[in-house]
Structures are given as C-alpha cells and as structure tokens.
C-alpha cells in the first residue's frame, strides 16, 4: 500500500495553506511544500535561523555558506526578504506571528498531540531544535508523514508513546494514504489516496477514524 508520493503529500498540504500566509516548513518532506504553491497565492517562508522571505536552493554559482535554512542547507532570498537575529526570529514564532507550520512526525495522536523530537530511548541523544517553540507558538500546525513506520508500525495513534513535542497542537495530518482532520470527536478522514478503502486505512491506523 503506497498511496501518494512525497511530492503529492506536499502538494496536498500546500493546497490547504491560505493566500498570504507566513509559513515555516520543517525539515524533510515539509520542505517540498514550497515547490507546490497554488497559482494565484503568495506565501512568505520563515526559517528560524533568521530569514523571512526564503527562496529555493541556489544555483551552484550563487552558493553562500552564510545563507542557509534551519536544516543547514544553502538557500536564497526572495525580493523583500530580511535577515534578523535569533531572538527576533523566535519572537515571530513564539509571539504567534507565523500563520502555518508544516512539520514531520514520529507519532501523532487522535487528540493532535505531536511527538517528533526523540524516541526517549536511553541511547538516543535528545535534540529538540525549534520544534517545541513552533508547536507552542504557531497558529495552525500541519503534519506531513508516512502513515506507518518503515517496519509497518502505526504512527497515527490513540496516545503517543514517544515524548511529546507539544500536546493538542496538530490540526491536519497529510500522509501517503489520507488527509485527516483533528476534531474534538477524533480523527476525521477528509481524503483518501486512490485505491485505498476506509477499511484499508483503518487497518493501518491505531487511532479510531471517523468516515
């Protein structure tokens, strides 16, 4: 059961971001969202290491090791872009000024709890970066993730077993199999990938789904 590709998941998420949004994209599949801005919409991308108005990766001739994103990859600046220090950058995040954040996940619960920073294992080195600040401060949080782990374990769960990044913060989940809305009644299925039945989807999901 493969369902949507990473690019298709990113395109679905981009489609649900309103015109004029200030957007922060997490590392990994969320970065692909920037390739799929729907026609007629303008998003402004924030990267927490101090740039508002982030553009795509540079041509090799324009690479600059002092112009990078939060994943430490080289990027560009769009017209109107600005640089600032970390305190200002996290004022944008923690002060509620960023409209939408798209994050990856290790687990998401049916209440919208997100775990994406540590397995909690004794040998794991904790590394949180800006994830908890985004979780606490951004108005709308989308998650893009494969529906299950590589070994087939559920990632959409009743309760997260990994340490939380933030409780009750996710509003919508985009997986390779479905788009799910977090509601007060539980996870509602908005869309399913072609060829996926509700029964297939539920079988891959620990949390109870609402059709």
């Amino acid at each position: 059961m493969t369902g949507w590709t990473r690019e298709q998941m990113a395109e679905l998420a981009a489609h649900d971001i309103p015109d004029g949004s200030y957007v922060n994209l997490g590392i990994g599949i969320p970065e692909l969202v920037a390739k799929f801005v729907p026609e007629g919409r303008e998003f402004i991308y924030h990267t927490e290491n101090g740039l508002l108005g982030m553009g795509p990766a540079p041509d090799p001739s324009e690479e600059d090791h002092e112009l990078i994103n939060a994943g430490k990859k080289m990027v560009t600046v769009v017209p109107g872009g600005s640089f600032f220090d970390h305190a200002t950058s996290f004022t944008m995040i923690r002060g509620g000024h960023i409209d939408v954040c798209v994050l990856g996940a290790m687990q998401v619960s049916e209440q919208g709890d997100l775990a994406n920073w540590s397995t909690g294992a004794a040998t794991a080195i904790p590394a949180v970066g800006g994830a908890m600040d985004l979780a606490a401060g951004v108005k709308t949080i989308f998650v893009i993730t494969q529906h299950t782990t590589k070994t087939g374990d559920a990632k959409i769960v009743k309760n997260c077993t990994y340490p939380l990044t933030g409780p009750k913060i996710v509003s919508r989940i985009f997986t390779n199999l479905a788009v799910l809305d977090v509601t007060k009644d539980g996870l509602r299925v908005l869309k399913m990938a072609p060829g996926i039945s509700f029964e297939d989807l539920q079988a891959q999901t620990e949390a109870d789904l609402i059709q």
């Binding site: 970390h86 923690r94 800006g130 908890m132 606490a136 409780p167």
Partner: protein, 236 residues
C-alpha cells in the same frame, strides 16, 4: 581614544580561564567564530561550559574544542547533525553534560540575561518532558513554564564588518545568535571579516551597537568549516 582592536586571535582569548562559561555564536557553520575557537583550543583551558545552538561539525571548530576534552557541559538545542560525531561519542560515554533547551527558549534566555531579566514564563515545553521539575504558572487560563536568563563570562562572536569601537554588522543568516550573545557576556570578543574606518558603517544599519563589544580582531580570510570537513581536516 577607545580602540578595542587586538592584534591576534591568541591575544583576544588569552585571559579565558578554566571553568569559564562561554557563549559561542553561530548556527551550524554560519556565523561560527572558528578562528577564535581554535585559539581557545590552543590555550588548553578546561572545564568550560559552552552555550551554542549545536555541538559543532566534523573535527574542527566547536567539535574540536569538545573533542579536546575542554568542555564539561554543553547548553544547546540540537546536539546532532550529519557531520557531528565528537559530541555524541562523549555523551554516550557519560563524559560530557548536556542541558537541552528549545531553540527559542535558548535565544530568549540569552536575551533575558543580556537585558537584566532573571527569569520569564513561556508556553514552549508545557506538556512535554522538558517542562518536568520546572515551575508552571497560569496566565489567562493558559499554562506557562518558568525559564531563567543566561549569562556568560565570555562570548565569542563572528561578524562581517566592525569599526574600532565595535559597531557590528553581520552577513545574511550568519547573524543568528551572535547579536543576542553580544549582550549577555561580561567580555564579548569578536572576530570580524573586515575592519572598517570609523564612520563608514551606516548608523541605520548597525546591528550590534559598540557598547556590547569589548574586543575586535580581524580575521580577513576565515575558514569555511564544511570545506575543512570535506577535506578531512582536524584541528589542531
């Protein structure tokens, strides 16, 4: 006459003693004062507490300082990266302490330290393991966690241009933690790519006013850490 220029990176860090707390600017390699860090390695001082977003890359810069056994504790948000091997090895052997701080809380703790605010409340980490054991208080029905301001004995900073007074401007995303760290250390030591004539920096564009800066050293051809790592170089 005020003149904060010093002759060499070695002179700039010569009075840093063992046991000091040091803020080091940079986010990954961008804005990392690598030459000042290498000068600190040369001094051999130990038992340092270092505040940085990361733990360095490869075996140069901050990673080399850690690898030399000079750091007893790291305060950072993200001690992993694709080229970060030195810290994980020491940490898993129990040979270095780690205080993990969310990136925004880290920036705000430094900002608070620099502006004379001893502690503040934030929503970040509420409901997560990183809030355990910390004071929680409700404001308008929402919970917040108490976090303390951070100060340091020294800050090691990289900027793009400075004049002799220590007015600083930075380059693109190499700004990151540098300006806020300048405000929170007893002694702020800056390596500048270019040393410029007083009056040549636009007063509207100066990011760090000189009151926050103590020493300036020109490093006109700074290394690029990722180039050193790609070449397999180690410091010293």
């Amino acid at each position: 006459m005020i003149d904060k220029r010093v002759k060499s990176v070695a002179d700039a860090v010569a009075d840093i003693k063992g046991g000091a707390t040091i803020m080091i600017g940079g986010f990954g390699e961008a804005g990392s004062p690598t030459e000042l860090i290498h000068a600190l390695i040369d001094t051999g001082v130990k038992d340092l507490t270092v505040i940085n977003n990361n733990t360095g890359n490869g075996e140069v810069g901050l990673a080399a300082l850690i690898g030399a056994g000079q750091v007893k504790k790291m305060i950072c948000s993200y001690p992993r990266s694709s080229h970060s091997k030195v810290f994980p090895e020491l940490y898993l052997k129990g040979e270095i302490e780690l205080e993990i701080v969310p990136q925004g809380t880290l920036a705000e703790r430094i900002r608070a330290g620099g502006t004379g605010i001893p502690a503040f409340y934030t929503a970040t980490t509420v409901g997560t393991p990183l809030a355990e054991g910390k004071e929680i208080r409700s404001f308008d029905g929402q919970e917040f966690v108490l976090e303390y301001g951070l100060k340091a004995d020294f800050a090691l900073i990289k900027c793009e241009s400075s004049d002799r007074l220590g007015n600083l401007i930075y380059n693109k995303t190499a700004r990151n933690f540098n300006p806020v760290m300048c405000t929170a250390a007893d002694v702020t030591i800056v390596q500048t790519h270019k040393l410029v004539e007083l009056g040549s920096l636009d007063s509207e564009a100066i990011v760090t006013p000189n009151i926050f800066v103590d020493r300036i050293v020109e490093v006109s051809d700074p290394v690029i850490e990722s180039h050193l790592i790609a070449a397999g170089e180690c410091y010293p």
